[in-house]
């Protein structure tokens, strides 16, 4: 029976200290309430970008704090929303002359806590807008009022918003753009093994041998469908098809393809998935203009992966390719 290697008391606080200690030139740790802020900021940025959410999805969000992406992040306990005070203080630190933009994954707890923080900021006279990320196709249904969950697209949206914010846009333009980025992004995820339960150890749920969860989320909830594991190619084709069919027709601006590991899935697997999805996109005539492969939005140590596609519009690629200086998001310029 596996158990996480975590200290018994305050694991998130200790981990975040270790994170800040590992990246001293990039992020600053604040302990009361817990949040991290960026050391550097692009001189043209007018709006602070703030995100956050439950822990267990690292490097999301703290790993994306830094010049070019987020100005601050507020981590909750494992799989639990941050307290509004964390978001509030993070936002006060991060606010630019044109206010704060919150990037929020669509979960009730996150919506409420970011919402309360936004009310407090407004009471302080700081302009606040929100970008709600809801990309997960598995939760698309007319019956639930809660809507699609926010998953992998969050990393893509945070990078695009970072690039856009550094071009000097104002808060309303950024909020509108953020909503467009989300509308252009859809994801689906599968799992072959649940994550380790932080509380009890062992896997959080059991799968029959040879089954996979199709349409799994990032908080360890089961998917709505458990299916016999298809062949690798069939599985990847089904996922790619589902994502592409849900997107507006892609055009000459191409797409961003993000193959995300859910925690325990190896880079070897993720790159094989990447190669296979890219081949399918080729066949469909979609040009992959931007790529990201790695475990950037995991669900603790779940075995599985997600595929996210963002249909680009003119100008977006510049923001995707813009340099960023964060602990975890790779975007570097070569020396000339």
């Amino acid at each position: 029976m596996n158990q996480l290697f975590l200290p018994a008391a305050e694991p998130v606080d200790i981990a975040l200290r270790g994170f800040a200690r590992a990246h001293p030139g990039l992020v600053t740790l604040h302990e009361d309430p817990l949040h991290v802020t960026a050391v550097h900021r692009h001189p043209d940025r007018r709006v602070g970008l703030v995100s956050g959410g439950g822990s267990g999805h690292e490097p999301l969000h703290a790993g994306f704090v830094g010049r070019g992406m987020l100005d601050a992040a507020a981590p909750g306990r494992i799989f639990a929303s941050p307290h509004n005070r964390q978001v509030y203080e993070a936002s006060r630190h991060a606010a630019g002359p044109d206010g704060v933009l919150h990037v929020v994954k669509n979960y009730t707890g996150d919506r409420i806590n970011f919402g309360i923080a936004a009310e407090r900021l407004r009471a302080d006279g700081i302009p606040v807008r929100r970008v709600l990320v809801d990309d997960d196709l598995a939760t698309e249904s007319d019956e639930t009022a809660t809507g699609r969950r926010g998953t992998g697209a969050t990393a893509v949206v945070e990078k695009l918003l970072g690039g856009a914010a550094d071009s000097g846009l104002g808060i309303d333009e950024l909020a509108a753009l953020g909503a467009e980025f989300v509308a252009a992004s859809r994801s689906v995820a599968v799992a072959g093994r649940a994550q380790t339960s932080p509380a009890r150890g062992g896997t959080a749920f059991e799968l029959a041998p040879g089954d996979v969860e199709y349409g799994v989320g990032i908080h360890g909830e089961r998917a709505q469908v458990t299916v016999p594991r298809p062949s690798f190619d069939d599985l990847v084709e089904r996922m790619t098809g589902q994502v592409l069919d849900a997107l507006p027709a892609t055009n000459d601006d191409g797409v961003i393809l993000f193959v995300n590991g859910l925690g325990a899935t190896t880079l070897l697997e993720l790159y094989a998935v990447h190669e296979t999805v890219a081949g399918l996109l080729d066949k469909r005539g979609a040009t992959v203009a931007g790529r990201l492969v790695g475990s950037y939005v995991p669900a603790l140590d779940m075995s599985g992966f997600s595929v996210t596609v963002t249909a680009l519009r003119p100008g977006w690629l510049t923001w995707w390719d813009a340099p960023s200086h964060t602990p975890a998001f790779p975007r570097q310029e070569l020396p000339r």
Partner: protein, 208 residues
Amino acid sequence: MTVDQTAVLTTYARAARAAHPALTALDQLSGDGDFGDNLCEGLDWAVAAVEARPVEPATAVAAAVFLDRVGGTSGPLIGLLFQELTRALSAAEDDWAGGVREGLAAVQRVGEAEPGDRTMVDALVPARDALAAGRSYADVAEAAIAGAVGTAAIRARRGRAAYVGERAVGAPDPGAMGLALFFWSLAVVAEPDAGLPAPEEVVPMPGE
């Protein structure tokens, strides 16, 4: 005549303590049972903080305590109510009507609950309307209590109340009852002779 904020807060804290067993029982029926603790702890902390910092307005102190330290869904939402009350009361003397109006608006922006969803909104909406109509504080309290009691009949189809289903029908929503006690406290301070019932009668134990 200005209603004393600090008196309202301490009265509210006493009333909530008196209703604590019933509020807890109501949240055990429809939630996780912590609403009584959340509300009473928050109010006790706020009263203590007001004693420690008497120059600040009591609603401002209560807002900070509820927003920063009180748990549960209700804690920070109640904090927003206090925050907007602070703004309104500091802008215009005795503007409880404006504070409740803006507080409810903030609660709804954040919590996205509509009237009839079986939440504290069902106490706040009739109170806001009674205040806007310029009714007496005792009338406002009665409107809030009636709205809260009315949640007992709701079998919500959407939102978080939907999870509870039939199980909770017959008993009112704890958050709505807890907020009704706020308006009860306001009335007791503003109109001490109105003859309102005791908090234990406002929030009876479910099933009694």
